[in-house]
Amino acid sequence: MKWEKILVRYGELSTKGKNRREFISHLRNNIRFSFVDLPNIKIQAERDRMFLTSTDDLEMNALIERLPKIFGIQSFSPVASCSKDLDDIQATALKIMDSLDSQDKTFRVTVKRSDKFFPMDTYELQSIVASNVLKQYSTLKVQMKKAEIDLRIEVLKDAVYMMAQVIPGAGGMPLGSNGRSLLMLSGGIDSPVAGYMFLKRGVRLDAIHFHSPPFTSERSKEKVMDLANQLSHFGATVRLHVIPFTDIQQSIQAQIPENVSMTTTRRLMMKIADLVREEIGALGIVTGESLGQVASQTLESLTAINAVTTTPIFRPLISMDKLDIIDIAREIGTYETSILPYEDCCTIFTPSCPKTKPKLEKVEYYESFKDFDELITEAVKSREVLSFPMKKSNDFSSLL
């Protein structure tokens, strides 16, 4: 099917009074970023909709395939055009129906006839096209209200435009419209989902990960890199800060009683994250914590962990059920990576019975015997920063 252009309807930004221009320009940049491999795309942004065109048919098809991932788009429709010749109109209508799954659907034809010199009137054209389509697709059922396939035909001065699909977009807001935050990315199922939800609200992300070689393997780091890379597919660069955490974990082991060591570990992670956040100029910290899921995610634990900073800590999954989180993880494609069975730094020194209700004063008391600040500064300083999307890591060119 040869499409003339793609009509894009904006998401929530239609409601944003003065900021509209900024939102649209963010959306435009996101589309440019996401389709940097399709150089011939032209973007024409209007007040309440956007048109995408390309001289290359394959690029148009790639656009249709990948647009549903771009935030800030409510829906979009591929539009075909043809001459005002009736045979041409009929043929184009059939081609559009061929490109859809047109079996056993409800169906209608809508005609808008802006060119008043067009010889046929609206109803005439409507019924001629409809009866021809129905002849080819006998399983279609005509229905005027809420038809599954609404074949819209617009007769304009220059040509006839036609579309039948309204493909849902990702919704949300274009990336960049809500500043930057730092995501704590563990490698589990939850944190990538939390990251996705923030990306969807237009927040740019850096991610932070704690790595404890030799207790955690290179593969567990690669897994997190994979996840960061997958998040970068949603429309913006994601930087990953990998913190060397071995020394800190070992001194926690040596100093802190086993049943609160987990709480201290989380507190120190949060402190480090806050320092990194400050350095990169992000406004908040995003975590995948969900209330009551594990010992570190009880209200008491969260309070004790949260006490190290006044920076806003966002927990988009806080009240979600695990199964719902898994659904989203599957949908955005991070689930398969998340369940790869590598030890991470949270699981290697797990105490047999961590306190689910740690007392903040007690934790602070135990921590007071050891000065962690130097270790923390050192860890922040010697972090590794990776940027995604990464250039293809494997070069197979000698084989191909």
Partner: protein, 377 residues
């Protein structure tokens, strides 16, 4: 040995063989496994698929690796007919298709489809005026080869597409086994929906090939199982073969213009030479691919000539490798109405860009001797 039977199979390119060995040594994991090794192997497989998609101008998920031309052709015939049978039951193929199309279509006609045949003229080129009357509104599939394997005749695919598109919504399958690497082939150059390619005809490995579909075209599988190749071709994908295919395709297109020019000059040279023999009739039409020369010697059996040439280390074949062991005459030559005097004496010379003018000169000397012996001089 002077090998002039490159349409039967070709010698594996050393670099392709090298790729095959290296992939077997380093990336032998199952590409569907979720461990890193499997993941890497899958990445390599994807890179191969993308490279092929780039070459053929389609998207990578529409490239399905198969065991070769025959499987790809079967998949195209059964898979497309099955997928689009709601539009109609009418299928058209030409009289000169490869047996893997003809037999598949015969089977299809026993399954409630109506299969009709597009006739060819005496040059072995499909008759477009017949096509015009054959294509119906309910035609769902038209399958025509790009270059005929026995005569080298180039089929008018562009004109065919135009007629089919105008008169029906049928899909077009083009068997490009003999044309890829000798004539530019991709989905931008030809308005077709499916293309078959075989590796071992382009200095790749035996037992590998692919079916590529145009974007948005769908197909039903004919093999069922673990759902590999997007569910279209179950069975663990052979990554070494797939990567070798991608490599063979890339190498085949390197300096394609230069290769075509070379094949053309060798072919012209041979044609001029063959036409000096009064007993020789050229079977290949004027509009032919540059690598195939089909000709016949009056009242002499092809097999006799092959054996005589072989004794001098020159390898050619009768009309095709598939039919050369069968005693029955070729369906392609019959469709062209080649007269009885000539039909049994058909020889096919098929060239590769690695053939040299010296080899052709040597062939000419040997052929002359053989002809002298046969005529009893």
């Amino acid at each position: 040995m002077i090998y002039l039977d490159n349409s039967a199979t070709t010698k594996v390119h050393p670099e392709v063989l090298n790729t095959f060995v290296t992939v077997n040594e380093k990336f032998w994991a199952n590409p569907a496994s979720i461990h890193t090794f499997g993941h890497q192997t899958n990445e390599l497989l994807q890179s191969a698929r993308e490279q092929i998609a780039d070459i053929l101008k389609t998207s990578s998920e529409k490239v399905y690796f198969t065991s070769g031309g025959t499987e790809s052709n079967n998949l195209a015939i059964f898979g497309l007919a099955q997928k689009y049978k709601h539009r109609g039951k009418h299928v058209l193929i030409s009289e000169i298709e490869h047996p893997s199309i003809i037999e598949a279509a015969n089977k299809l006609s026993g399954q409630g489809f109506k299969v009709e045949w597009i006739p060819v003229d005496t040059e072995g080129i499909i008759r477009l005026e017949s096509l015009e009357t054959l294509v119906q509104a309910d035609t769902i599939l038209v399958s025509v080869m790009h270059v005929n394997n026995e005569t080298g005749a180039i089929q008018p695919i562009e004109e065919l597409s135009k007629i089919v598109r105008e008169q029906s919504r049928a899909l077009i399958h083009m068997d490009a086994v003999q044309s890829f690497g000798k004539i530019p082939v991709d989905f931008n150059l030809f308005d077709v929906d499916a293309i078959t390619i075989s590796s071992h005809k382009i200095h790749g490995l035996n037992g590998s090939g692919l079916l590529a579909l145009k974007k948005f075209i769908e197909i039903e599988p004919i093999l069922f199982g673990g759902g590999q190749e997007s569910g279209i071709r179950s069975g663990t994908t052979s990554v070494p073969l797939a990567v070798s295919t991608a490599k063979a395709m890339r190498l085949a297109l390197e300096d394609l213009d230069g290769k075509i020019a070379k094949l053309q000059s060798l072919s012209d040279n041979l044609m001029d030479f063959l036409q000096t023999f009064p007993l020789v009739k050229i079977i290949s039409p004027s509009k032919k691919a540059p690598h195939i020369i089909s000709f016949s010697v009056q009242k002499i059996k092809g097999e006799v000539l092959i054996n005589a040439l072989q004794q001098q280390n020159v390898i050619v074949s009768t009309s095709s490798a598939c039919s050369s062991k069968q005693t029955k005459t070729s369906h392609v030559l019959k469709a062209m109405h080649i007269s009885d005097d000539y039909i049994k004496g058909v020889l096919r010379i098929s060239l590769s860009p690695i053939n040299t003018q010296q080899e052709i000169d040597q062939f000419k000397i040997v052929f002359k001797q053989v002809m002298n012996v046969i005529k009893g001089d």
